[in-house]
C-alpha cells in the first residue's frame, strides 16, 4: 500500500477545475479502484460512470494522463510511484458532471446508419454464412462502444463543427462490417459512407486504432478498405471502364437518401409522416426538488421506496413514438 498523488477534474458544463488528492493505492489496483476509493473517503459526490470493471461494458472511458483509456483497465502499476496521475473526462463530448460526459453524439450517428438489410427471398432462420465470411466482421463485433476512438479522433475532437458531417471511426467499422456482410442487401453503403458519414474527413492518422481497448484494427481493416471501396466506384479508371464494358457492378444511381441528422425531416415510408431525426427529443421532467434544491433521498420524505431517477419518475413505457427523434419500426 502506498499513498499516491492524483489530479481529478471536477465540475460541470458551467466550468470546473483539476483538484489535487492523495489516495491510497494497493497492489493490483486500477485507476477505477482509486476513483471509487476517492468517492468512499473524500469526495462522496464525485460522478463517474462504470459498470463491469472488466473492460467489457465500455462505460468507464476517461482520459488518464491525457490519454483516452478505460479506467478499469488502466493498472496503477503502469505509473511511477511518485507520478501524479491526472484524470479528466472525455474532451470531445459535452460534460454532464465530473467524469461523466454526454455521449449522445454517438447514438445519433448510430441511428443515422441504415441497419442490416435482409436479403430478399431468404427467410430469417435460413441465413447461412461460411466461417471465413463471418470471421471478417467478427473483429468489428468486438466493439464495446466505449467511444474512446470517437473521442480521440481529431476530426471532431479539435473541430467541433465537423460533428455534423462526420460519423467517426466507430461507425466506419459498422459501415465496413455491413458492406462486407455477404447477406446484406444494401448496395449503396459506399456512397453512404462517403457522402453521409464523412469518410473523407478521416486522414488515416490511426489514433482510433491506437486507443481501441478491443484492439480492433479500425484504420487498416475498416476505414482504408472502405476508402478503397469508394475509390473503386468513383475514382478507379479500370473499374469504371470495366463497368462500362461488362455492364455489371452498377454504381447506385444516387447517393443514399437515408435519413440523416443534418438532412431535415425525411420521409421514411409512404404511409408515414416525415420524421425529423435531428429534433431534440422532449426532455423528461426532472425529479421533484425540496426547498433546499435537493432531491429527497430520505425515504421518510420521498413518496417512493427507491431513489428518484434523474430522468424523472413520470416516464411510462412504451414511450410515445411522437416523442422520439428516431423512427421506431413497430410504432407509427
Amino acid at each position: 500500500m502506498s499513498v499516491r498523488k492524483f489530479k481529478v477534474w471536477r465540475g460541470d458544463s458551467g466550468g470546473g477545475q483539476l483538484n489535487d488528492y492523495q489516495v491510497e493505492v494497493n497492489e493490483g489496483e486500477v485507476v477505477l479502484d482509486v476513483i471509487h476509493r476517492l468517492q468512499a473517503t473524500q469526495e462522496p459526490d464525485l460522478a463517474c460512470r462504470w459498470n463491469c470493471k472488466a473492460g467489457k461494458c465500455g462505460s468507464c472511458s476517461m482520459e488518464i494522463n491525457g490519454m483516452p483509456r478505460l479506467s478499469c483497465m488502466t493498472r496503477m502499476s503502469t505509473f511511477e510511484e511518485n507520478e501524479t496521475v491526472t484524470v479528466t473526462p472525455l474532451r470531445t463530448f459535452p460534460v454532464i458532471r465530473d467524469l461523466v460526459t454526454d455521449v449522445s453524439y454517438n447514438y445519433t450517428k448510430a441511428r443515422e446508419l441504415p441497419a442490416f438489410a435482409p436479403p430478399p427471398g431468404v427467410a430469417p432462420g435460413d441465413y447461412r454464412m461460411q466461417q471465413i465470411d463471418v470471421e471478417r466482421s467478427q473483429e468489428f463485433r468486438k466493439c464495446i462502444e466505449c467511444f474512446l476512438c470517437q473521442n480521440t479522433c481529431h476530426v471532431v475532437r479539435d473541430h467541433e463543427p465537423n460533428k455534423e458531417e462526420f460519423a467517426g471511426p466507430r461507425y466506419f467499422i459498422r459501415a465496413a462490417e455491413l458492406d462486407m456482410h455477404p447477406l446484406d442487401a444494401k448496395n449503396d453503403r459506399k456512397e453512404f459512407a462517403k457522402s453521409q458519414q464523412g469518410l473523407g474527413y478521416c486522414n488515416i492518422t490511426k489514433c482510433c486504432t491506437e486507443v481501441c481497448p478491443e484492439h480492433i484494427k479500425i484504420t487498416d481493416n475498416a476505414i482504408i478498405p472502405m476508402k478503397e471501396r469508394v475509390v473503386d466506384r468513383r475514382y478507379d479508371p479500370l473499374v469504371v471502364l470495366g463497368r462500362k464494358i461488362l455492364r455489371r457492378d452498377q454504381i447506385a444511381p444516387t447517393a443514399s437518401a437515408e435519413p440523416t441528422v443534418h438532412a431535415g425531416p425525411v420521409k421514411v415510408a409512404d404511409d408515414m409522416a416525415p420524421v425529423d431525426f435531428g429534433r431534440e427529443p422532449t426532455p423528461p421532467l426532472p425529479p421533484e426538488l425540496n426547498a433546499k434544491g435537493h432531491v429527497n433521498l430520505n425515504e421518510m420524505l420521498s413518496d417512493r421506496s427507491a431513489a428518484a431517477s434523474p430522468f424523472g419518475d413520470d416516464l411510462s413505457f412504451p414511450v410515445d413514438p411522437k416523442g422520439l427523434n428516431y423512427y421506431h419500426p413497430d410504432k407509427h
Binding site: 460522478a47 474532451r91 475532437r157 479539435d158 487498416d220
Partner: protein, 269 residues
C-alpha cells in the same frame, strides 16, 4: 455533502480544461523522428537525382534505382536499356518517366500519409494532442481528395518494380558478357525484393487482391492471396522505412563504386 441531482440539461459544453494536452509521455518523439528521417531522405534523393553522374557502373552493369529506367538523351548509352528519348537538361531527372510515379506512389501511400500528416502537418501531431489547424476538411476536397489517386500510382509502381527487377537481372552480366556476382548484386537484389514486398503490402493491393470481395467463401484462391497480402500489409510501415533505407544504400553504394571511392567485393567474376 451535496446531493444535488444533476440531470442532463440542454447545455452542451465540453469540460473546461485549460491544458492543451495532459499527456506526460514523450509523444513528440515519434513525429520528430519521422520528420527528421523523411527530410533527410528527401534531401539525399533530390541531391542524387539532379546530380546526373555516378549512377552507372559500366564494369558490372550496376544501375542505381534513382536512374532507372534511364531514358534521357544525357544517359550513358550502356545504361539506357530502353532507349533515350527525353531531352537532356539539368532540370529533368534522367529517370523522368518513373520518378514522378514513384513520388506519387509514396506521397499517396496510406502509411506515408499518416507519417507526414502527423510529423509535418500536425494534423494531429500525436493522439489526444490538438491539431495545429483551425479548420479541417480532411481528404474531402482539393487538393487532398487526390489522395484517392493512390490506386493509379500503385499500378504504376508495379510496372516500375518490373524495371527494377530487370536491372537486377542485367547487373549479373558484366561488361564483357560473362556472369558476375558481387556485393553490389546482393544489395540490388535485396532492394528489389524489399520493393516488391513494399508494393505487395500496399493497402490498394490488398483491396484489389481480395479485399473488395463480399464473399470470401466463393473465391477461395483470392481469399488465400488476400490472407497472404494481409500478413504483409501489417508490416507496411516497416517496409516503407526499410525500402527507403535499401534505396538510399543501393544508390550510395553504386555512387561510391562509380566515383571510385572503393571497389566492389566480388564473389564470382
Amino acid at each position: 455533502m451535496t446531493t444535488l441531482a444533476t440531470r442532463p440539461t440542454g447545455a452542451k459544453a465540453r469540460a473546461e480544461i485549460s491544458a492543451k494536452t495532459l499527456r506526460t509521455d514523450r509523444w513528440w518523439l515519434a513525429p520528430l523522428i519521422t520528420a527528421v528521417g523523411l527530410f533527410a531522405w528527401v534531401a539525399y534523393a533530390t541531391f542524387r537525382v539532379f546530380m546526373q553522374k555516378w549512377y552507372w557502373v559500366d564494369e558490372y552493369h550496376y544501375l542505381t534505382p534513382f536512374y532507372s529506367p534511364c531514358v534521357s538523351e544525357g544517359c550513358e548509352p550502356a545504361a539506357a536499356h530502353f532507349g533515350r528519348f527525353i531531352p537532356d537538361s539539368p532540370w529533368i531527372p534522367y529517370a523522368a518517366l518513373s520518378l514522378p510515379f514513384l513520388l506519387l506512389f509514396r506521397l499517396t501511400c496510406y502509411y506515408y500519409r499518416k507519417a507526414y500528416y502527423r510529423a509535418f502537418w500536425m494534423s494531429p501531431p500525436a493522439c489526444a494532442v490538438p491539431d495545429g489547424h483551425k479548420n479541417y476538411s480532411g481528404e474531402t476536397r482539393f487538393p487532398l481528395i487526390f489522395q484517392n489517386l493512390h490506386r493509379y500510382a500503385f499500378y504504376a509502381a508495379v510496372i516500375i518494380s518490373i524495371f527494377n527487377t530487370y536491372d537486377a537481372i542485367m547487373a549479373m552480366q558484366k561488361a564483357n558478357g560473362d556472369f558476375g556476382f558481387g556485393l553490389g548484386n546482393v544489395i540490388l537484389w535485396v532492394n528489389v525484393i524489399m520493393l516488391w514486398a513494399y508494393t505487395a503490402s500496399c493497402h490498394s493491393c490488398r483491396h484489389i487482391i481480395g479485399g473488395r470481395l463480399k464473399h470470401f467463401s466463393k473465391h477461395p484462391v483470392r481469399y488465400r492471396a488476400w490472407t497472404f497480402v494481409s500478413k504483409l500489409n501489417t508490416r507496411h510501415m516497416g517496409l516503407a522505412w526499410i525500402t527507403l533505407a535499401t534505396l538510399a544504400i543501393t544508390d550510395f553504394y553504386i555512387m561510391a563504386l562509380a566515383a571510385g571511392w572503393f571497389s566492389d567485393l566480388r564473389f564470382v567474376g
